[in-house]
């Protein structure tokens, strides 16, 4: 299985308010709210760390969930956020990632 890398889109703004991450897309001003787990993945989306590793380190280590289920849910989240253009996904690390 090929690794999946994720990075936050440069065309968004985000803010953690009262423990809840809210994200706005500059494309259409659509607003998104992320729950705790989605926020953990979002914050770790540095473009260099494989999604599987993010899930192991940021989700499985913090929440009582088995790795395969967590990865499946994370992949679904990534698909959803990518479809809205607020998260970028690739099978290669992002060259400009910080």
């Amino acid at each position: 299985m090929r690794a999946q890398y994720i990075a936050r889109s440069p065309r968004i703004a985000a803010r953690l308010l009262g423990g809840e991450m809210i994200v706005i897309s500059a494309e259409d001003s659509a607003l998104f709210s992320l729950n705790d787990i989605a926020t953990a993945i979002w914050l770790a989306a540095d473009g260099r760390t494989p999604l599987r590793e993010i899930v192991e380190q940021r989700v499985c280590a913090e929440y009582a969930v088995d790795p395969e289920t967590a990865l499946r849910d994370a992949e679904e989240l990534v698909r959803e956020l990518s479809a809205h253009g607020i998260l970028l996904s690739s099978d290669q690390p992002f060259p400009d990632a910080a």
Binding site: P10, R11, A13, R15, L17, G18, G19, E20, I22, I24, A26, E27, D28, S29, L31, S33
Partner: protein
Amino acid sequence: MLPPLGPRGEGLAAELAGTANQRLRAAPGPETDFRHGLLAAPRALEVILNIGDLPIGLRTSDSCFTGMLQERYAGFLTPGALPAVEFDVELVSPEAASLDDDLRVTTAAGRWWLERGDFWAEFDPAARRGRIRQSANPYSIDSVLRIVHTLMLAGTGGFLLHAASGSRNGRAFLFAGPSGAGKTTIASLAPTDVTLFTDEVSYVRKRPEGYWCYGTPFTGELAKPGVNASAPVAALYLLAKGDANRLEPVGPAEAARRLLEDILFFARERGPVGQLFQAACDFVTQVPTYRLTFAPDARVWEMVV
């Protein structure tokens, strides 16, 4: 939603022609530059509108249009003030307007372009100058002014908000909500010790000491203009209609989401959208925000303290 271009019939033209109290000001530029032999060119008239502590000068050679501006924005005129931003307004035939075109607000090389079927405008925020081309109607200039104010506010932590507002004992209260949420209703229920600023669009400016709210002349087509008054913001109330009056605190994330829904903004550029987003987030972390469910009952104002 901005009001559409309205008809400009004989009645309006006649009404405009009848407005005589105009302030003449000779303006620099080719219109009055005698060295170039333009002696026959009309003198420029300037109206200075001070909305939200931002005086904007509108220059045109059309006295009827100037009269219309003075009438429409009567409470917001500041004759003699030094405008912070100046626009030259070129009036064109209303036949050139297309009512079907969507608004486009774009930027390049530090300038903004505002375009809709009924107007075109160019604005250089650094030079604080711009040009507007439209027919002699109040709706287009009103739209341009709203957009320019939102652009000028974007980097300052302020915004224009779909909200009624007013002050009591020197403290301002904002009542935000979309059309139908009850802005006009709650304004109409205000007791006599409340100074109403507006029942439609409020102006929020961030100052070193906190947020200030101002009334604006921006209205829907049927509403009356607000008043030129301001006060420090004490609270934001997110309006909802219900069977009884109820006040509940709202957490910052929900408050930011609701606030962003009610903020007027027209650009889609990443920079200004991000600035506005951060401005809304900053506001809700500093200003107490409540959900105010109310029945059409004046006792709701007992909860506004």
